[in-house]
Amino acid sequence: MFLMRFTERAYVAYSAEDVKNSFRSAVRLTFSNAHFDPRLGADLYNEYLDEYEYAEEVGFDGLMLNEHHNTPTCLGAAMNLEAAILARTTKRAKIVLLGNPLPIFDNPIRLAEELAEIDMISRGRLVSGFVRGTGVESWATNTNPVHNRERFEEAHDLILKTWTTPGPFRWEGKHYQFRVVNPFERPLQQPHPPIWIPGVGSPETLVWCARHHYPYIYLETDPQVTLDMMAIYAQAAKQVGYEPGPQHFGYLVRVHVQDTDEKAYEVGQGFLVGNAGVGRIPLPSEFMAPPGYNSREATRRLIEQYRHALRPDPLYGGVDAAGWDKVVESNRVIVGSPKTVVKKLRQVLSVLRPGILGVWTNDGTISHRDAMRCLTLMKEEVLPALREIGKELDLPGPFEQAP
C-alpha cells in the first residue's frame, strides 16, 4: 500500500460576509484578492512546506499536492514551485502532483520541462498527475471550456511524446503547434515519471484512464459511489484486456487524528471550511462547470451505458452542507484517536481495496499545531497499522506491482 499525505493549503482569514459580498457571492473565481494578506501568505506557505517535510519524516511514502486558481481554498496556484522546493528539501518520499491542469497550459512543452527538472532534482521521485481542472480553472485562464477534454488529451499526448521520443520533432495538432519540440532536459525516470489521474469520477476520464493503465485516484468520493465508478474503470480495462487490481486505484479521504476521539471530533470540524471555503455559499454552477466543460453527448452516452452502476452521492451538495455528524458517520471524514482512526480506515480499505491511500490530514481552520500533532500520532500508531492492514488485505500499491 502506498500512503501519501495531502492538504489543500487553505487560506481562511476572511469572513462569510466577505464571501456574500463578492461577485455572485462566490468564494472561488471572483472572490477578491483584496482579502489576501501576503504577510500571512508568507507564513502559511512556509508552514505548509514544513508539514510536508515532516510528513516524510513520519513515514509517508508520498507528498501529494494539487493546484487551483483564483481561490482561497487552495494556495497551490503554482504547485510545481512547491514540488520543486520539496524535491530539494526531502530525500525519500515521492512527490505526487495531482495534478497539473493540462487544458489551461498554452505551452505544454514548458510543463514537460518543469516536470523533468522536478524529477531530476528529486532524483526520480516525481509522480506526475494530470487533471482537466475545474471550470474555475477555465475561467481564470480564459481557456475555452468546450475544448477542455480535447486539450487535456492532446497536451497529454504531446508531453508523453516529448518525454519519450528523441527530438527534435514537429507537432501540428488541433490545439497545439510547435515547430521544434526538443527540450534538452529529459526526466530521470524512464521511460517517463509515473502518471496518475485524480478525479471525482467523470465516466469519460475513467474510461480514458483505464485504457492507459493509469491509476485513478478517487478524491474523497462517497465509498459506495466510488465502488460504482471502479466498476466503470474495470469494465473499460477488460475491454483492453486486463483485470485491474488495487494498484490501479487510489482513494483520498480526510483523516484527522488527535490524542482523544473528543479532541479529534472537535478539531476535525475545521475541514468544513477548507475545500468549501468560509461561508459555505454554493458556487454558481457555471463557475465550476461552464457551458461545454462537460461534453453533454459523451456524458449522456456513458451514463446510459453505466446507468446500472451509478448512484447519487448521499451527501450530494458537499460534505460542508450535510452536517458534521452525518459526514463523520458516513466515513467521509475520519476523525478520532489513533485507535479509532485505524479501525475506521480498516473498514474503508476492506470495502474499496485501493493500493494508494491519500490521507488529507488537515485543512480549513485546523491549526498548524494541530496538524503537526496529527502527523506525530500518525507516525507512532496509524501508519504502521495501515501498512499491516495493507499486507493483510493484499493491497499492493503501484510501486509494488506495476499497473
Partner: protein, 264 residues
C-alpha cells in the same frame, strides 16, 4: 397570408443538416440569430414577411442544426453561412442580425460585400468598445443576463411567451446546447474581432444600425462605432428598450427596419 405563414426544411450542407424557417414573399432577407438560437417564428419575422421572403436559418450547433466538426470560430461560421446563402441561390440579399448574429452579419459583409442588398445590425457584438465592456453573459449567468437584457419585460408579449414560464426538460437541454455552441464561437476574444472595425470601411451597402437605448449587454457606444466605421450608415435608437428591440418592441422595430429595407 396563408394559414401557415412559413415552412420549415432541412438543408444538407458540408455533411450536416441545417434547419431553416422560410416565409413571406419578396426580396430575400436573412435573419441571423444570437446566442439563444432563433426562438421560432416571432412577430417581427411575421411583420417582415409581409414584404420580403424571410429566411431564418438555425446556425450550426444551435437548436436542430448540426455543426460540422471543423467549425469552431465566428469567422468559420461566417464562411459557412455565406456558403449556405450560395446554396439557397441568394446572390443579392439583405442580412439582419442581432448581438452575435449582428457580429456574424458584419463579418459576412466584409468577406463578401458584393452579395449584399442591405445590412441591418441590431445591438450587434463584433466591435470592442473604447469605453466600457460588452457584458460577459456567460459569467453573469442566465438569470442576471436576462435581467440586464430587458428594459421592461412586461411591455413585451414575446417575453411572456418565451420566458414567462418554467422551461420543459427539452427546452433546458436545448438551452444548454445553445449556450455551449455560443461559448465555442464567442469565448475568446469575447464577442469582438479586432480587425473588423478596420475592414468595415470597405462597405458601400446601405446599412441601418438599430440599438435599444437601454441595452446593458452591448453598450450603445458600439452602435456609434459601427456607424462611424460603415460609410453612409445610419444609427436608429429605440427608447425605453433593452438589448432585444426585435422582441421587446417588435412593432416599432419592424416598422423602422421595414421602412429602411423598402426604401428604393
Amino acid at each position: 397570408m396563408t394559414t401557415k405563414e412559413y415552412h420549415e426544411e432541412f438543408i444538407e450542407l458540408a455533411g450536416v443538416a441545417i434547419h431553416l424557417l422560410k416565409g413571406g414573399q419578396g426580396n430575400p432577407v436573412v435573419v441571423l440569430h444570437s446566442v439563444e438560437g432563433p426562438l421560432g417564428w416571432r412577430s417581427y419575422h411575421r411583420h417582415l414577411a409581409q414584404h420580403f421572403t424571410v429566411y431564418v436559418p438555425t446556425l450550426p450547433g444551435f437548436g436542430r442544426s448540426q455543426r460540422p466538426p471543423w467549425l469552431e470560430t465566428l469567422p468559420d461560421l461566417a464562411r459557412f453561412s455565406l456558403w449556405l446563402l450560395q446554396e439557397q441561390g441568394l446572390e443579392h440579399v439583405s442580412l439582419l442580425g442581432y448581438f452575435m448574429g449582428g457580429w456574424l452579419a458584419a463579418e459576412m459583409a466584409v468577406m463578401c460585400p458584393h452579395i449584399l442588398n442591405r445590412l441591418v445590425l441590431v445591438d450587434a457584438a463584433g466591435i470592442q468598445p473604447q469605453r466600457g465592456e460588452i457584458a460577459d453573459i456567460f459569467l453573469l449567468g442566465p438569470e442576471e443576463s436576462r435581467r440586464r437584457a430587458w428594459f421592461a419585460p412586461q411591455q413585451s408579449p414575446e417575453y411572456r411567451e418565451l420566458f414567462g414560464r418554467k422551461p420543459s426538460p427539452e427546452e433546458r437541454e436545448l438551452h444548454a446546447q445553445n449556450q455551449e455552441t455560443a461559448v465555442r464561437y464567442c469565448w475568446k476574444p469575447y464577442m469582438y474581432d479586432r480587425s473588423l472595425p478596420w475592414l468595415l470601411p470597405r462597405l458601400r451597402v446601405p446599412t441601418l444600425i438599430v440599438w435599444g437605448r437601454e441595452d446593458q449587454i452591448v453598450p450603445l457606444a458600439c452602435g456609434e462605432l459601427y456607424r462611424q466605421a460603415i460609410p453612409g450608415s445610419r444609427l436608429t435608437v429605440i427608447d425605453q428598450c433593452g438589448h432585444y428591440p426585435h422582441l421587446e418592441k417588435p412593432d416599432e422595430f419592424s416598422r423602422r427596419v421595414s421602412e429602411f429595407l423598402l426604401t428604393p
